[in-house]
Symmetry: C2
Subunit: 349 residues, 2 copies
């Protein structure tokens, strides 16, 4: 058999889950979170150079499958991601993802990678990047309500980027809190398990909500939120799924990633279509103010946006260079003569 050896162009580097974990440990998880926050901030600074489109969602009874593409004119990326809250009942992940980078000039893929872990990392890095601009000065304590798969990543990103030293945890399931306490041991953070959301928010400058129910919920009520805090609302991220009482939104300055998407998927889906929001990229560039005073309640209504995945994919591609944390996939047919696809097939016989 004369097997056609694929050329370099035909090979797509693939980062498996195992290789992603090796890469993260090779670099250090806090380093990765801090560098990702910087990479995302750099791309938010050039927000206007990106093709932006709301994600393409395929909804079903049990969940959603989404494609999130973007491009800066030179590099194209997309992420495949699902959200199936009931998956945990069967021992499956609620959210799994993979992503791809391609060259705009040729359309050829240049990286395929798992993105379940990478999404967890970039989501936390985005929260921390936003908090760097919006949280009170000299923030020390974050409350984490919802101690699921995102909890530790949030805690470590806020430590690496914003310098917090204390995390206060609450979850309706004490086992989730226990898991998070155990996982955060050895990271030089004071970790406090709390028995109620009310207790958890005591003394915190940052309140992060990240619960998984696909329904309108009220994780925080208005009377729980004092002046001066920064709320990092992660869990309200699809139609019908919110975490905050709408009265909190009315008292807050609300910052979002991409308004057309957030108005459908974020906390502000509870509000009128003209409810005022500030685009986070404008805060990053200085075009809009972030936190103005110590009493202001800032709220990052985060739903996740394709540009954050783009930044994360580019970051992984850069950091892969010189390592062996990938394998080459023979994914692109590459005949000697591009018009001779059939000849390539015949010669492989």
């Amino acid at each position: 058999m004369l097997s056609p050896l694929p050329s370099a162009k035909a090979m797509v580097p693939f980062v498996s889950v195992e290789n992603m974990m090796r890469l993260v440990h090779h670099l250090g998880v806090e380093t990765v979170l801090a560098e990702l926050a910087d990479a995302i901030e750099a791309d938010f600074r050039r927000w206007e150079s990106f093709d932006k489109t709301p994600r393409v969602a395929s909804h079903s009874r049990d969940g959603v499958i989404e494609l999130m593409p973007t491009s800066d004119g030179s590099v194209y990326s997309f992420k495949y991601v699902n959200g199936h809250p009931k998956n945990t009942v069967d021992g499956l992940q609620t959210v799994t993802a993979f992503g791809l980078l391609a060259e705009v000039s040729t359309g050829y893929p240049v990286l395929l990678t798992e993105m379940t872990l990478l999404t967890a990392l970039r989501t936390a890095a985005t929260s921390a990047m936003a908090a760097r601009h919006l949280a009170p000065k000299s923030t020390r304590t974050m409350t984490m309500i919802g101690n699921g798969a995102q909890a530790e990543f949030q805690a470590l990103a806020m430590k690496a980027v914003c310098g917090i030293d204390t995390v206060r945890l609450y979850d309706i399931d004490p086992r989730a809190t226990e898991k998070t306490v155990q996982n955060l041991a050895g990271f030089d953070l004071k970790v406090v398990a709390c028995r109620s959301a009310q207790e958890a928010i005591e003394g915190a400058e940052i309140i992060t909500t990240c619960t998984a129910d696909k329904q309108f919920a009220t994780i925080l009520t208005d009377n729980m939120v004092g002046a001066g805090v920064h709320i990092n609302a992660i869990g309200g991220d699809c139609p019908g799924k919110t975490e905050l009482h709408r009265d909190i939104l009315k008292r807050s300055d609300v910052f979002v990633e991409f308004p057309p998407q957030t108005r459908i998927e974020g906390e502000i889906q509870q509000m009128a279509p003209d409810f005022p929001v500030v685009e986070l990229w404008k805060v990053v560039t200085g075009a809009a103010p972030g936190r103005r005073d110590a009493k202001q309640i800032t709220l990052f209504d985060s739903v996740g946006f394709a540009i954050e995945d783009f930044s994360a994919l580019r970051y992984v591609r850069e950091r892969l260079s010189g390592t062996d944390f990938y394998q080459n996939l023979d994914m692109i047919a590459d005949p000697d003569d591009p018009r001779d696809l059939f000849g390539m097939l015949q010669r492989a016989k």
Copy 2:
């Protein structure tokens, strides 16, 4: 190192280009084309059960990158495909592609595969399936104008599905025709190389146009097309790219895959938005007539649609069963406790 062994759910079967070629030879290329035509026809018959959305295109100076998702409520698929006409100058493929199947109920991917070859196969199978309904009875001869990567697949699909025995070839580049003549040797087809499009269409019941220029072109003019032929127009498949003079469209009954997409990308982009077309799936189900008489000019204005990829991906998945023409990719993070993604990362250290 305590490396977490991924579970079966976390593993995604991947079909490389080499394995796709092995699978096709294992089954036989004409068998694959005939079975694909049947699989696509079966899905056209249940057209109304699919989620349909125009492809999500990212256009740039040199080409386009597209995502083509669809779902039947039980299985989800998407294809990544680029179109970069200038790629051939650098020895790259104009079109490359890969695709994915996932379970709607969990969002978990169940197949990742190269689709450059598979798209060539399904495009030809779709053309042949359409011709089975639209071409004159006892069709013997097909003309192929444009002898690029799609040419041999079209010829063999029309042979396997419609029973043609003669192919007449023309390309502005005689080397493309010569390549096609060589590749079709041994397939029990009479192959005639012609020196002009005019010469090529003599005596043909089916005229297939499949040229690659990204521009408005006129491969066929009105006076070239006689009564009773079936035109299989493949090459006009993105905004600004057509192959037929508009007068031909006026004399033809035009059949399309998905009107909202074809009106933007197909030959009918030259016509008014209300130019009458028939949806091919209605012909397949019997809800609309196909060919009514021997003098009628039928025209399949094909741009390629996500459901054809869905059918092809499902077909490959079925045919993979019991073979070793795939490798398992560790693509989905799969912690023992779904909420303990961070713990999985830590334990891999």
